[in-house]
């Protein structure tokens, strides 16, 4: 039933990834906080960025919300809320496809920009390249999985396989067998994402953790005393 590969991929890798994500973030926050930045390149080129960046980021936010809804919320809850399986499936598929389209269009614009604008290209580090390869893999394979499984093949119910497995990870009761029969594209998507999470703290992706939410409740002008906070 569950092979060693299954255990490795669906029982061990998620925890390795999680530990690296948390420990790496803590390490970077303590050790190298000065490098914590989104590393903007708007100075080098503004026209492509203006379209690509919001498309990608807003698309990505929608995608993340969709994943949270799909993975964290059990099917029984939505059923209890009166959402039929068919309605859920329809909404998830179409909203997901639109979000994925925005993300991919944005990503293509940004990648084109990064490759062709000399100054942006120069500002690209090796870490950026590794991160981008993983990110592109996750996004492309994930979209492919959605289109292939949901639109072409007529529907795959991940809410009985991937979702319970995901929730089991958080409850410290990993059940790799749930992932045994998962289609290859979906599995690849999950693995790519897990590797991306593991490397997250060591790339520019850390900027996602410092989303400036406190700004909404702050007085406009900040005063500070020479000695420290005022």
């Amino acid at each position: 039933m569950t092979s060693a590969t299954d255990v490795l991929l669906w029982g061990v890798l998620p925890y390795v990834s999680f530990v690296l994500l948390v420990a790496g973030t803590v390490w970077r926050a303590r050790r190298d906080r000065a490098s914590w930045s989104a590393r903007p390149t708007g100075l080098a080129e503004a026209r492509l960025l203006r379209w690509g960046s919001p498309l990608f980021h807003y698309g990505m936010l929608a995608v993340v919300l969709g994943h949270v809804a799909g993975l964290a919320v059990p099917a029984s809850w939505t059923a209890a809320a009166g959402v039929t399986d068919h309605a859920y499936h329809l909404a998830a598929t179409w909203l997901g496809t639109v979000a994925a389209a925005a993300t991919i269009v944005g990503l293509v614009i940004l990648l084109y920009r990064r490759a062709t604008v000399p100054r942006v290209r120069t500002a690209t580090t090796r870490g950026d390249v590794v991160m981008l390869v993983l990110l592109v893999t996750s996004v492309v394979v994930g979209t492919w999985a959605t289109v292939q499984l949901q639109l072409v093949d007529g529907g795959y119910d991940y809410r009985t396989t991937v979702s319970p497995w995901f929730r089991g990870l958080w409850l410290l009761q990993p059940d790799p067998s749930l992932m045994h029969g998962v289609p290859f594209v979906l599995g690849l998507h999950v693995v790519a994402a897990l590797v991306l999470f593991a490397l997250w703290p060591f790339t520019r992706l850390v900027h996602a953790f410092v989303a400036p939410v406190p700004y909404v409740a702050r007085p406009y002008v900040v005063y500070r005393s020479r000695g420290g906070a005022a």
């Binding site: 490098s35 930045s37 903007p40 080098a44 960046s53 500002a123 410092v210 400036p212 700004y215 005063y223």
Partner: protein, 581 residues
């Protein structure tokens, strides 16, 4: 609160870029900041650096006043600003900062094949540094009529050195989502905390002066720090220290922090200048001094504010104007607008450009230059600019008078007569040699609303101020060491290690106030809670060892008799002596 501010006397700027180079060599040498000039000098009318930085339509610069009378950043309020966080619109691209020279010359060096260069020239660069080319890009001229533009392009130009304005109401700070940018309480210097900056880049378009720079290598914003490390040591900024034309003045001003918001939000942009002047307090007013002491500003700093050339030029003589006040940021680098280019325009018409009355009359008729300066320094209002120019012309008349050339003294006489006719002043028929030896012509002084003594002072300050007159900077460390000594141990609070008499003697205090030495540590450490005792300890005890001899601690001296409006500063030697030579 106190604010370190600067005034630049533009008539004296020769455009040598010494300030820019000094600044560049020390403050922006980091990799990634090749393009950034924290201080730059630009020719106006001209396109400026970065190009067209003062274009009105620049997205998201400064503040706008909502119909409700409140201010919000032009780039959008907090939520709107966050919504745009993924691409900060309005950020200038590198080309606007003028590409580094190698880049600009690439087309010439590596340009097309030699056949096109047979004795001729390579391709023209896209933008040439020729003044005419540059004038066409001037953002301010774009707002003036075509006629004026043509006129100005022919005859009128001056140099404008620029650095961060360290505004009282900084739009960059307001736009920073991370809270990395802040205004220092003590001296008002606007800084970026590099450990908190996340590179969201909202500050760059928010600054109307485009004086925040992103370092693409570190991904952080950087900017002019007003040479904070030098200011704290009592030294002037590098740009001021090296200024060949000696046109920069640095000093403290005291201001009413509670008035800032209202001043920035006055309805009519033409009122902004006066509102901004009103925020600055008279440091010689006993009430102001008392309030400053109450709020913990060291006495040495209050004295520095009293000696400040900034207060003299901005508030007392009202000859310094802010750059583009219409952005409502209350900028704190002020400019004495240039009279010389106006004189040149007058002289070009064949009139005597050195004559006060001719000049004073010309300000009313000369649309071009005065309008240009008004757009730049007074949100388009001519009145404050002409007021300043008249005073500058009066100063010029003092110089012309004391130079002793008989020709100009004759002209001065006729000029005085004309000005007497223009304003209800005295007649000045028999005064041909007046103002020859040092003293200014009283009629000229009165015509600009000053008495001759004041005009002499202004003349002195604008033309003969020496290093110590121009840079009046209290030492932060000395002052704060003294404050610490008086305060006792800063750890001496509830639960702190220095709390109460039970603390090990000298353990905490010795660390905190090394400058104060033993007595301070031994003294107040056991004298109860530190909170709120600033006043109490200051009233009673003074640590003589911490005294530099420069302040006038009231514990050492009897309280001064209730003094007149300007008790002045008897010990201030330089800018006050009435006779120039």
């Amino acid at each position: 609160m106190a604010q370190m501010a600067m005034v630049m006397h533009l008539d004296r700027c020769i455009g040598c870029h010494t300030c820019s180079v000094a600044c560049k060599q020390v403050q922006s040498t980091a990799e990634g900041l090749e393009y950034a000039w924290f201080n730059n000098v630009e020719t106006r009318p001209g396109r400026g650096y970065p190009h067209a930085w003062d274009e009105r339509e620049a997205t998201g610069a400064g503040w706008v006043r909502a119909s409700s009378g409140t201010l919000r950043p032009r780039g959008g309020g907090r939520l709107a600003s966050l919504a745009q966080i993924f691409a900060a619109p309005g950020t200038p691209v590198l080309a606007a900062y003028d590409d580094p020279v190698a880049e600009a010359l690439r087309s010439r060096v590596a340009g097309p094949a030699p056949e096109t260069m047979g004795g001729a020239r390579g391709p023209e660069p896209v933008r040439s540094p020729a003044p005419r080319d540059s004038v066409a890009d001037d953002a301010v001229l774009a707002h003036l009529s075509e006629h004026v533009t043509a006129d100005l392009a022919e005859t009128f130009s001056f140099y404008l050195p620029r650095l961060c304005e360290h505004c009282l109401n900084p739009a960059c700070v307001a736009a920073c989502p991370s809270g990395a940018m802040y205004k220092r309480v003590e001296d008002g210097i606007v800084l970026v905390d590099q450990h908190v900056c996340r590179g969201w880049a909202r500050c760059v378009p928010a600054c109307p002066y485009k004086k925040v720079y992103l370092n693409p290598v570190t991904g952080k914003a950087t900017k002019c720090t007003l040479c904070v490390e030098r200011i704290e040591a009592g030294e002037p900024t590098l740009c001021s220290d090296t200024c060949v034309g000696r046109l920069r003045y640095i000093g403290l001003v005291l201001y009413d922090a509670d008035k800032v918001e209202a001043a920035a939000a006055v309805a009519d942009p033409h009122d902004l200048l006066d509102a901004q002047r009103d925020v600055i307090l008279d440091p010689n007013d006993p009430d102001v001094v008392a309030a400053a002491e109450r709020s913990g500003i060291p006495e040495e700093w209050v004295m520095a504010a009293q000696w400040s050339p900034i207060w003299q030029l901005v508030s007392r003589f009202r000859v310094a104007l802010p750059l583009h006040p219409e952005y409502r940021t209350l900028p704190m680098v002020w400019y004495v607008p240039p009279l010389s280019p106006v004189v040149d325009v007058v002289a070009a018409t064949g009139a005597d450009g050195e004559d006060f009355a001719t000049l004073a009359a010309a300000f009313e008729q000369l649309a071009g230059p005065v309008d240009y300066l008004a757009e730049m320094f007074a949100a388009g209002a001519r009145e404050p600019v002409t007021e300043v120019l008249r005073r500058l012309a009066a100063v010029r008349a003092v110089t012309a008078g004391s130079s002793g050339s008989s020709g100009s003294s004759g002209a001065g006489a006729s000029g005085a007569g004309a000005s007497g006719a223009a304003s209800p002043g005295p007649t000045t028929s028999a005064r041909p040699a007046r103002g020859r030896r040092g003293g200014p012509d009283p009629a000229v002084a009165r015509a600009v609303g000053l008495d001759p003594g004041e005009l002499t002072e202004l003349h002195q300050l604008l033309t003969k101020a020496d290093y110590a007159d121009r840079n009046v900077i209290p030492e932060a460390y000395a002052a704060s060491a003294q404050a610490l000594a008086e305060l006792g141990c800063s750890l001496d609070e509830d639960g702190g290690p220095g709390m109460g008499a039970a603390a090990p003697p000298g353990a905490g205090p010795a660390v905190v106030a090394p400058a104060g030495g033993g007595p301070a540590a031994g003294g107040p450490a056991g004298d109860g809670p530190a909170a709120g005792t600033v006043e109490a300890t200051r009233g009673g005890r003074f640590n003589l060892l911490g005294w530099t001899g420069r302040g006038r601690p009231h514990q050492l001296f009897p309280a001064p008799a209730p003094s007149p409006a300007r008790p002045a500063s008897p010990s201030h030697p330089p800018s006050h002596p009435p006779s120039p030579k």
